[in-house]
Amino acid sequence: CYELLEAMGMASMSCGSESLRLCVFDLRRGQNEGQELDKILFFYPPDLTFSTQLSVIGLSEGLITFTRLFSPEAACEVIEAERHSHVFFEAEPDIWMVMIVEKNKEIEAIWRVDALRRMLKEVHSLFVMFHGSIRALLEKEPAGGLIRSHLHPFITDYLNDLSVGKKLQLPSFRETLKERGTVQMLTLARDAALEVQSLVGVLDSCAGTVRCHSLILFHDLLVSTTLSPDDTVDLFTFSVMRLTTNAVSSGTSSWSYLRKGSSLSQISSRSNSGQLLGSSDPLPSGNGNDVGRVIRPLQQDKWSKGKDGFLVTDIWGKDATPRIYLQQTQERVYLLTYQHKSLTLVLLVPSAAIVNGELDISFVKHQVIENASAKILKVEEKLSKGWGGENAYHVSGYRYLLVDNDMEVSRASPPGKVATLAKESLLALSKLRETVDSEKSRTKQEREMEICIRAKNNAWAIARLTRGKELYMALEKASETLLDATDSVQSFSNRYCSGAFSMD
């Protein structure tokens, strides 16, 4: 099986410097001889021959079918071959996303599979948020042209964000103290929280009787949300990618995992003509079908701040307001973004409130400016005053990642501080996380768990899990005994997690 895989298409992979393949396919399609191409909904890199694409997908399909025999509910998650890792993600029933990454000798190319799968999950969630589910688009146009014409620019734009120079930078072990698909929150003092909530109350009622949802960010941190955790994650991800002050004024450095690299490399990557899909590229039309204009929500550098404080973009057409789908309620809402200094307000106006199109939109905007301006100023002022800067959540002596799976919230040591960790510590931590991941996937029930491992450089890598909360940390003080290490975790837990991880 491996041999087969290695024989198929990997040669062409090596011809480019591409070490990544990503495909989306539908198991319900192309089941008849000669129609196999129908399965393929997306393939990256796009310039591979159909036969190569088919062989990759055929293998994946085979593996899925095979493993389903034993585990119908959850088919295969990952296949580790000698030179490649195949990461599987069933995005929607029978719609699979498979990512194949090359294992090369480079030390940087050490991935944690779950981190890669979370990438697939993220791109799919974002896609659904903007276009609705893949299945729905397939049903709308069974020939598949519509979905292909949407998936292609969308995923390509998404991957664009990962490109550094000519390479795609996947989440490696260096990002082990980050958790994709979670939200990073700003910690608020009570009085600030009350001001924020008061602002939320005003935003709620900006469209009259129909209640609006809202998301408030400060820098790249979430301040408040009225959405369900899943919707919050999606919208937060998108906001940090495209809407926040740092995203709009591209070039500013960011510490968010959602934007890669330093400002320099980012600029160079953007000015680079080698972008995967330049914004000036003609839009692909799927299979010759006339599907009209395809919206590319993840296009870079398309947002700017308008005179009234609202962000504007022409992605949805001139003067058109973006609309997104909310997962939880399945409703379609208008997305308005207001920005004041580092404060970004994302307002979601239900379609029910917008009867007269842009006229009503501008009414809502007017309402926001009219009713909320004073509060926005006040909140911004309060938050800025209490803002501890990029390193606000640094705890000296610790390099940590704290995940709350219930709220889909995480907090971690700032990247700059994590970067000071030795490679060995990071690798140990990555390995530890991998272990925990597999342990978690084995038993679906929430359980308490504690793992401590000693890295080659005598650092401790520690994981603690309790009732939906996870704590990972690296302690590099070589002299520490295991007892010291657990004591450190204990005091961290007491001090910063209100004792959530304190166990004996």
Partner: protein
């Protein structure tokens, strides 16, 4: 004619009549006035209607849905000017029914019906008034008015409404609506052969003199049944008379050059005379300043005398000023000496306990008339008043038809602005820090609140009313009867409002020289509130609350009104910003009153009531036992927060409350808790309001009742806003407590995340027992036991763990638990539980070692 129709004819636009009646005299002097009046009137009308409409729509939304607004309705709003009073009466019935929801909605829908069915008549009347607004006279548009009235009377349910209106103003003497009234019975001085009536404002004594005797009645506290004390005095003319501040001596001005002092005990008489011819005595007053005891104002200035116990006067100081006239009030300790040709140059002294302060000399403002004549200011045109502890001087400028106000500071006199006046004769009273300007010719009162910068009146001008006995029954018929009987016996039928013989005394008394009676001016807070509410635009609810929060006299009533308004604006679903402002006002006022020490909790009141307060009337004391029982009831029933309780509280004697401030707890109990049930479907709105409430509380660094948090959780969980619920909890907007944690657990039945928040909170609060029990309940018995072991908690029933482990069919766990428990709980191995489970264990699987 039924009493209520009588009231209708009475309420016909008294103030327009009066104000416009003076127009001829106003010609060329005050152009803005008629406009202003009519504008104010229009504004108040449309707002009143909006107010009523709100009520209507809220309680009966279908009313306008099926029939759509009646034709001409909008015009009606715009054009009607004088329907105002009719509607004031309706509004009155709302307030009367405020406690009873059903009644309220019935009233409101009745009004809706009237407006719908009588729209034509209303429109006719409105347009008639609108067209004649510049030539207002009594009974303006009478024909149209009667048509409207007739139509209304034929609308179903109306009779009930009318009854309510009439009962709301039980024992109204003249049957009209007003905010200021004088209360029957007055203090009567039925002294035969009385020669003169005087008022000693320092001692608050009403003094009646006969040829040889002096009768004096204490007027504070005002009690019509008080009997006079009698002193003998030698015969002679009495120009003025004042008791010394210790009441040991009486000073009488006999002529313009002689003052006699009588010692009440020793009967000693002492005469003080000034140089006849060169100067004359204008008057005198006693002082409590350390410098002097008696001040005599003469045309040449003011002499200050010290007076010993033997009544020997010793001249201490002389202030040389040419004086034409002077005014003095003991309340302000201020004497103003007028000089100059126009008498508008004022020299002022304050003779307070802190010493004698000379105020900078200042000139009163007098507009120049067209003719070359110079108007002369008289002492009757200048009034000294104290409101909110500030001293003002009010001066009538008849040319300009303005009442100028000056505020006195220690080292400055600052003109504050002017109020328009609509009568050439004018007087002022102060009740509860409100300035009542009696427009005597017009026979109306206008109320101003000098606290706010705006010089707009608090309410529209309305007549001064005469009211019968206080507390007469709710049945209007009985009240009327009572009135009739009292009228016949006391000949009150002769009372003519604002007759010439009326003297206005500081601060709130009226002396009727003809009938020899003394009235006290009262403010009907409820009525003023209504008129305010009517005239206030919706956003002005805030200023209305501010106004009410400044009331001291009827603090309890003000408090109830505030609670009512707060509740109403929430029920009316006013925009959150407006409600926020209102809440801010209440919270700030409370915070202020706590700092000032004027706020008393309801609980404390029982104790204060039990110990007879100084000056408490026997009546009050008699009420004490029943009072405390009411209080208890209130406390007991509070959680339900029903409106009935609110009105129980209303019955507390007003003397108990010194401040209308509303504590956060009361706000919760009487406002939030009471609307929760009604608004559960609009919990989002309510949560927004509560958030603002909490923000306001936090800004003032006050504490809030835990139940507010519990309620917030309930509301958020009800509307499934779990994301926000967790934000509220993690950001500690909802402060952690056991009650909150338990509510989170309860609400978390629908949502595991919320339940976990509750668990975390229990753990953080170290509520070990509850934490462990909840953990076991959720099936985390191992974690629970581990926690119990760590924290040495033995209070949780051991069988809980064992049963949970047994139910999970994990024998290893069961064995482990048995072992841990026997270590944790001393003597556990001897319990039957141990044997039961040990037996179970050995039966099923001997492989597990203990």
């Amino acid at each position: 004619m039924s009493p209520i129709s009588e009231s209708y004819s009475h309420v016909s636009i008294p103030f327009i009549v009066s104000s416009h009646g003076d127009r001829s005299s106003l010609k060329n002097t005050n152009h803005q006035f008629p406009e202003e009046t009519s504008r104010g009137l229009f504004a108040s009308n449309s707002k009143l209607l909006r107010f009523c409409l709100n009520l209507t729509l809220r309680s009966n939304p279908s009313l306008f849905l099926d029939s759509s607004p009646p034709s001409g309705f909008s015009q009606f709003i715009g054009e009607s000017a004088n329907i105002y009073f009719i509607h004031s009466n309706f509004a009155f019935s709302f307030s009367n029914a405020a406690g009873m929801k059903e009644k309220k909605s019935a009233t409101a829908s009745t009004l809706g019906r009237i407006l719908a069915t009588c729209s034509k008549q209303a429109k006719d009347y409105g347009s008639c008034v609108a067209s004649k607004v510049h030539e207002v006279e009594r009974d303006i548009c009478l024909k149209e008015f009667l048509a409207l009235k007739n139509c209304m009377q034929h609308t179903r349910h109306l009779s009930a409404l009318l009854n309510m209106i009439s009962s709301s103003q039980s024992s109204v003497g003249s049957g009209a609506l007003s905010h200021v009234y004088i209360q029957n019975p007055p203090l009567r001085c039925n002294i035969p052969e009385s020669r003169g009536l005087f008022y000693d404002d320092a001692n608050r004594l009403l003094i009646c003199t006969t040829s040889s005797q002096i009768f004096s009645w204490q007027t504070a506290p005002f009690n019509p049944d008080v009997s006079p004390s009698v002193d003998s005095i030698s015969e002679g003319p009495i120009l003025s008379i004042r008791f010394s501040l210790d009441k040991k001596a009486i000073a009488v001005q006999r002529s313009d050059c002689e003052i006699q002092l009588f010692h009440r005990e020793t009967k000693q008489i002492l005469s003080h005379k000034c140089k006849a011819g060169s100067e004359s005595i204008l008057g005198f007053f006693w002082s409590d300043s350390p410098l002097c005891d008696l001040a005599i104002v003469k045309t040449s200035g003011m002499d200050l005398f010290a007076c010993d116990s033997m009544l020997n006067l010793r001249l201490v100081e002389t202030k040389k000023v040419n004086v034409n006239w002077y005014i003095y009030t003991h309340e302000t300790r201020l004497v103003l000496l007028a000089s100059g040709l126009q008498c508008k140059t004022i020299t002022g002294f304050q003779l307070s306990t802190a010493g004698v302060v000379r105020l900078p000399r200042f000139e009163m403002t007098m507009a120049k008339p067209e003719s070359n004549s110079k108007p002369i200011l008289s002492s009757g045109d200048v009034h000294l008043v104290t409101v909110y502890g500030r001293i003002y001087c009010l001066q009538v400028d008849r040319e300009a038809m303005l009442l100028h106000s000056y505020r006195f500071y220690r080292d400055a006199v600052v003109q504050q602005g002017s109020l328009p006046i609509y009568s050439s004769k004018l007087s002022v009273s102060v009740v509860d820090n409100l300035l009542l300007v009696h427009q005597i010719d017009a026979k109306v009162v206008i109320i101003y609140d000098l606290f706010v910068d705006s010089r707009a009146p608090v309410s529209a001008p309305l007549p001064l009313l005469w009211r019968g006995n206080q507390g007469s029954g709710t049945s209007s018929e009985a009240a009327i009867k009572e009135n009739e009987s009292s009228e016949s016996s006391t000949s009150n039928g002769n009372i003519v409002m604002y007759e010439d013989a009326w003297t206005f005394l500081v601060p709130d008394l009226i002396l009727d020289q003809t009938n020899k009676v003394l009235w006290r001016v009262h403010l009907d807070l409820e009525a003023s509130w209504l008129l305010l509410a009517i005239s206030a635009s919706s956003s002005d609810r805030t200023s209305l609350l501010e106004f009410l929060q400044r009331r001291k006299l009827e603090a309890n009533k003000a408090k109830q009104l505030c609670l009512g308004i707060a509740k109403d604006i929430i029920l009316e679903r006013r925009p959150a910003t407006q409600v926020t402002q209102a809440i801010d006002v209440l919270v700030t006022a409370y915070s202020y009153s706590v700092k000032a020490g004027t706020f008393k909790e309801i609980k404390n009141e029982q104790t204060t009531a039990a110990t007879p307060a100084v000056g408490a009337s026997p009546d009050n004391e008699r009420h004490v036992p029943s009072e405390s029982s009411i209080d208890e009831e209130v406390e007991m029933n509070l959680p339900s927060g029903s409106e009935v309780n609110m009105f129980c509280a209303d019955e507390q004697p007003e003397s108990q409350l010194s401040s209308p401030a509303i504590s956060p707890d009361e706000l919760y109990k009487f406002v939030f808790a009471s609307v929760e049930e009604l608004m559960v479907e609009e919990s989002e709105y309510l949560v927004a309001i509560i958030t603002e409430f909490l923000r306001s509380i936090s800004a003032e660094k006050l504490k809030v009742d835990l139940n507010v948090y519990v309620m917030t959780i309930r509301l958020l969980a009800y509307s499934k806003r779990f994301a926000e619920l967790s934000l509220f909890t993690t950001n500690k907007i909802i402060e952690p407590s056991k009650e909150v944690a338990l509510q989170l657990l309860e609400s978390g039945r629908q949502n595991l995340r919320v339940r976990k928040l509750g668990l975390d909170m229990l753990r953080q609060l170290s509520l070990h027992h509850d934490y462990i029990s909840s953990l076991v309940q959720d099936g985390y018995y191992l974690e629970a036991l581990r926690y119990a072991q760590k924290h040495k908690v033995t209070s949780v029933r051991s069988s809980l763990f064992l049963e949970a482990a047994f139910a999970s069919n994990d024998l290893q766990h069961l064995a482990a638990i048995l072992r841990v428990l026997s270590e944790l709980i001393p003597g556990f191995k001897e319990t039957s539980e141990y044997f039961t489970f040990y037996g179970l264990l050995s039966e099923t699987g001997s492989s597990v070692a203990l």
